[in-house]
Symmetry: D3
């Protein structure tokens, strides 16, 4: 019983606007395959453009968080939201960014027992609170980040990444988007 | 004890890139004041641009959902996430769009008892499931929308609006962004 | 789709015992309208009498809590119980008692971010614990009230108000009692 | 480590108003001891009077619910609220009213597996929904009572009993009121 | 409406392997009756043997926990899992082991308000965390046991007892196994 | 930051009773390494023997469930309990038994979206209810298994496997037992 890419039909590359198709072809060239979320969102070009602009603004920007740490936030919060697409796809990216083949599975199941640093553990405590009970975030939560070298802007970044992927998780869950098979073994 | 606009400092208009400032001045001209979320996000211009591009792609597009219905989704799911900014600000917009001074408070407290139609009630059942347990969304949830005139694309819209404001709620909660005083009485 | 006053039929004033009718006429004279909960409970005169006797014993007595603070407890806990009647009706009374047009909506959505004092915040922490997990109340919860000037009798009052309105919330929810339209704009 | 009657001091009988004392002496004569909740509430005579007036209006009135069924509601919902006083005291009364020495413990632990009738099971489904998620009560919940011979007024009674003891549970929990030792073995 | 011993049929003593039958006859001789869980598990002799071997390894071994304390863990965690069989049967054993006729009901309803020592309260805090959110157990939880005289091996014992009866609770719940009537009054 | 095998010290092979050591050496010969749970439990030989006797009675017996299906139950319920050891170790066994390199990760994150059959989906619905709310299991849950070819004994097996690994999960979580690195890539 192999599920299709999504509950929604996927557009043909011909039917996609030029700029969207270009981004898709670029990721294909770089990764060797097109991650399914690109194909899914391509059926809504305006949402595609906004989604990836937001993604890049958070994930590719400079700042106190390493790229591996950002992916760690994605994996932990996406697992809490039971999002198959994001845990599998970003789990692969996390393994590669962290150069650590075990960490993605550990973080997805229970980050409290993962092979991560106290700094990363504090970061994930904060990210999980944003994901699961953001209305209880208070000054003390930001204060708990400071001893680990995270300033207020880093706090924003952690919160924004948890929030953005909380959106992605809900879209992937509602559209039933499956991760590409390639992700499962990358970086192991 | 009046709280400030946000836990984060607000940039001066001079320090904001041209395109961002223009959008802010436009909303000010149209509404008579600048909603605080514009000021907050202006400190992160790339996020500002992506946020409002996404917002417009979902809230201003054509489709089966009326503008009042879209705001209804925002108010119901933002209340579930205990987001003061979004409930107050979009509650005002909902009152205006629906030409119904009571509906926003009703939907925020318990949409099951609001003065809304069975169609809107089904729409909010779906939106709340996306907001609170999206991993359990299944075909039956889309099927329950159909008798009320919602097709699959409308289902996407409902899910995407609930997901996008789930992100906004978390950002507003983490940054402790307060709604402008003006919103509380608009449309009553 | 305007819902009726309640799932249950409302008695005519003629059919109501003298003392109950008198109280109803008094509130009408004072407020300019009869709050629906009076009409609903009038169909059960013994329960009407006990309900308002209890209400007055808690809300009109002397003690360390101001009248605005008592209403604040009602609004916060009734929102947690998703009781439309109590949030709207007591939200109005709170705005008037506190002479603060914004505070009721703020407290209903997320009291942690409302424009209230640290004393009131501690009071609401206690009240919410009584409303949501009273079996975990312990000495430390009373101790946390003391620095804010609440003695043990004030602790009783906070708990009793949260408990009494927890009852009201459940009755209003089960009977589907709608708040009068007048409440929505009072005190704004 | 035997806990005292309550976190709050208990008044001496002399210090209690005449009518309150009379009710206490009556229950003592009838039961052979004074249930602790009478002593606790006696320190607040107005609340004592309202509490027992409400109690009697719900528990001693005529109607479709047998006295045993009313106590069954108290035990099931009080167990859900983890109220030691009410489960133990009303468990005793339930055993006596139902002439069934096992039913109170069964209902307290898991009413779904108790030796009760389908009618009583439907009654407790309704009562537990009032106790735990009253905002989701809808017409279908009343409809589910009808085949078991419960009319709308019986529905009110079930809801009101669950609501009233939800208040009692919260007061007993916050005041840490212990049940009298006598209750544990009554009716076994 | 008296429920049968279990949803599953109970084997006749003749049909049970020798060693299983011997254990059953021994418990009958010792207790005067055969606890229903022995009859239930006898239909699966290999599971019977493993279950009681595990039970004995945890409940009959030497160590820092008294026999009454071990039963206290069983009662508290089984109540959290709403297991009728284990709360009633082990409640009886707890009353006998602790020589305290009230403690089992108290611990089942809300151990925080039971007549137990601070040491026992700390033990149950730990056991309940294992029962309900074991993935959050951390070094601090073991540390909180130390001042009460529990070493690391005692921590293991508490965790293992909570875990083993978590299994028993689920089996008894799924098979709908009723406690023997005899248990209800033992030790009162 | 690589965590040790467990919060508890691991015994040397010399210090382990003969029968326990033999089982450990057998698994080492068969698998090429010793799964950490064997080493952990070896410090408690009686518990070791009972644990594996129970394990074998459920996982190696004849019956309607395939070996892959049994492992599927373990992975789904262990993920719900956030048990790193069991998800990783039994995820490996599931991949091998099911000859399906993707299914373990899918089932762990959200079994509702895994590439499994409707029969397996019904099996996991039942297993998850046993794991998470066993007190609500009723006849209807067994009835839902029947159309998929599961008889009552299969229902027992599903429940018992979910219950047994619920115990294992709690022990592994409390002892902080890490899965062997070898498991992560087996069967991919």
């Amino acid at each position: 019983m192999t599920h299709p890419i999504s509950r929604f039909p996927i557009p043909s590359l011909d039917a996609i606007p030029e700029d969207v198709r270009t981004r898709i072809l670029n990721v294909q060239e770089k990764s060797g395959f097109v991650p399914n979320v690109f194909l899914l969102l391509a059926r809504r070009p305006d949402e595609f453009r906004a989604f990836f602009a937001y993604h890049d603004a958070l994930m590719d920007k400079a700042g106190g968080l390493s790229k591996a740490e950002r992916e760690m936030i994605v994996v932990a919060t996406s697992a809490a939201n039971h999002c198959q697409y994001c845990v599998v796809a970003h789990g692969a990216i996390l393994r590669i960014r962290a150069k650590h083949p075990l960490v993605a599975d550990q973080v997805a199941i229970n980050y409290r027992k993962a092979d991560i640093t106290p700094r990363q553990s504090a970061m994930l405590d904060f990210a999980m609170k944003v994901a699961l009970e953001s209305h209880e975030i208070e000054q003390a939560d930001f204060d708990a980040l400071a001893p680990h070298g995270f300033d207020e802007e880093d706090g924003w970044d952690i919160a924004a990444i948890a929030a953005f992927f909380g959106m992605s998780n809900r879209i992937a869950n509602a559209t039933n988007t499956r991760p590409n098979d390639e992700f499962y073994t990358m970086g192991r």
